[in-house]
Symmetry: C2
């Protein structure tokens, strides 16, 4: 029995990066919503978009040494770095989006190169233009050595399961890219009552479920066996959507032609982080998708992060081999390492 | 040990009614989207709206004797009758909505009077006009003897937790009305990829979660202790939304002023049906809200119904006293019987 092993969290698959600075916009358009950083309180900077503070972030977002210190404190061996989702910036014209994605990918590659045993990275692609996004993905994988890419749950309102994105996912599979789908610009904003932070706290779990379901019901998952795709926030509502769709599939043949194996079987080919903040909810997700598909994810370093990923794993009281899958092995599978 | 008891399902809280016929529209407007019925195949009628078939339904929807036979086959002692949700028809002008609600409530009262030991009923109110809806609720309770009312998860896009609906919920509490919130016109329709039936199968679980959360985050639940309100489809995404909101409440004080007890405690004051089609999902809901808040619900007699409610209860392998709560006692509490 290795006590140290039982206390550790191997790989945190859900951590975000904001570069310490952005290049000035150098494109041909006027009034572009291009990010920049300005100093805030010590060790913090404001992410500025269109003249407004989008979010004030700490140097944990860009400083490798700070991150390594935090990882030691958390007993995290490796972080999977991905951009703060707003930086995916799908609102940009595609060429501008490519420039921003390239800068993010270079930044991420640089952070990985500083400690390649401690970091993997998922880049950005301008998915508002599928062809450009495929070219950027190829470059990210082959030149920058990224493990894959983070994408939004929808691209300017179009769910990722829409057939227009199929060529992108085909390319990701061919390239062996890991895909991390993060809730972004959620559906249901008009159904919230309360402060702005409910976008992330209440709407994200509904949104990521809808996005994952679109990959099932649109047929992308069934068409691309072997695609390595993970969903943020434990897949959110997917946990209750899949059995309901399974019931409809079994009892009145809904989607029977597109899904010969049924929606539950398709969901069990997806990966999920465990960012559900609740032992029972995580165990219930594992029950649905199996213990080879759930990984640690914390949202480091943002306010809503799950602060003690190793403690969260411990709370599940899993058999040691299953704990090791959640802690490390499933993430290695997803990342193709 | 009473074997018969262990096989039974006491109260099915989620069953729908469509009247066998509707009165002709007698209001003052033109081109009103008013329902009517026309004959279809034997024992079936089409529900017509604006000249189109909205749904083809069977005589189970309106025939008490057929229902009683089905209940015997299912071992269901009592059905809680509520209108097919589309008939809530919040798109109508309020006066027209009141006329339709009155007709539905009279129909429901008549069905209950045919077998008052076997049926309870939840009526309709024109919630597009809060004052009118309060008057109709009073009438439904006092004159027609209904147990309460079914409402949509949003009223023409406005979530039920919006403060404008607070007087209605205050009145419901004062009158001792049971409220059943049913997913309707869901958020996220633009995030679905596939056939029309995904509205009910995939979007409803996200929608009912957003609606329930709006009653928490908007403060209605905290302001009205003792309100007896239930949510369809096991509350859907609420199972994953509540722990995330709880984490934000605990860690950065989100909604701390409005929710002195925290969102999980508030959720444990709500009731839910068990229409999740999955043993693990139902048990996970019970874990969150407690075994005094979950009730049987099937969606009888529609295509997506959970066909064997007693078998579903058996599958949970609950202690006999807990099974009895889910089967009957929790519904009696909610209904105020």
């Amino acid at each position: 029995m290795n006590v140290r092993l039982s206390c550790r969290c191997g790989i945190d698959t859900h951590t975000h990066v904001v570069p310490g600075a952005f290049p000035a916009y150098a494109g041909r358009l006027a009034n572009v919503r291009w990010p920049s950083m300005v100093d805030a309180q010590p060790c913090h900077r404001h992410v500025m978009l269109a003249g407004n503070i989008y979010r004030t972030v700490s140097k944990q977002c860009w400083d490798v040494d700070v991150r390594l210190g935090d990882m030691q404190a958390q007993s995290v061996e490796r972080q999977v770095l991905s951009p703060m989702p707003e930086l995916l910036a799908y609102w940009l014209e595609a060429e501008d989006g490519q420039v921003l994605a390239r800068f993010l990918n270079e930044t991420l590659a640089s952070m990985v190169s500083a400690a390649p045993q401690r970091f993997s990275a998922l880049g950005a692609v301008p998915l508002q233009d599928v062809d450009l996004s495929i070219r950027e993905l190829e470059l990210s994988m082959r030149e920058f050595g990224l493990a894959g890419v983070e994408i939004g749950s929808n691209i300017n309102g179009v769910p990722i399961g829409d057939p227009r994105f199929l060529p992108f996912f085909e390319a990701a599979r061919e390239l062996g890219a890991a895909i991390f789908v993060h809730a972004l610009r959620p559906a249901g904003m008009d159904r919230l009552v309360g402060p702005p932070a409910l976008e992330q706290t209440v709407a994200f779990p509904a949104e990521i479920g809808l996005a994952a379901m679109s990959m099932i019901t649109g047929g992308t998952m069934a068409k691309l066996p072997g695609l390595r795709i993970a969903f943020s926030h434990g897949g959110g509502a997917l946990r209750v959507q899949v059995p309901r769709l399974e019931h409809a599939w079994q009892n009145f043949g809904l989607l029977r032609d597109q899904l010969p194996e049924g929606p539950t079987a398709v969901a069990r080919a997806m990966y999920f982080d465990n960012l559900l903040y609740d032992r029972g909810a995580i165990l219930s997700l594992i029950e649905l998708v199996g213990d080879r598909r759930v990984m640690v994810g914390t949202d480091y370093p943002f306010a809503i992060m799950d602060k003690d990923p190793a403690g969260r794993l411990d709370s599940l009281a899993l058999a040691m081999d299953v704990r090791e899958r959640l802690s490390r092995l499933n993430a290695l599978d997803w990342l193709g390492l």
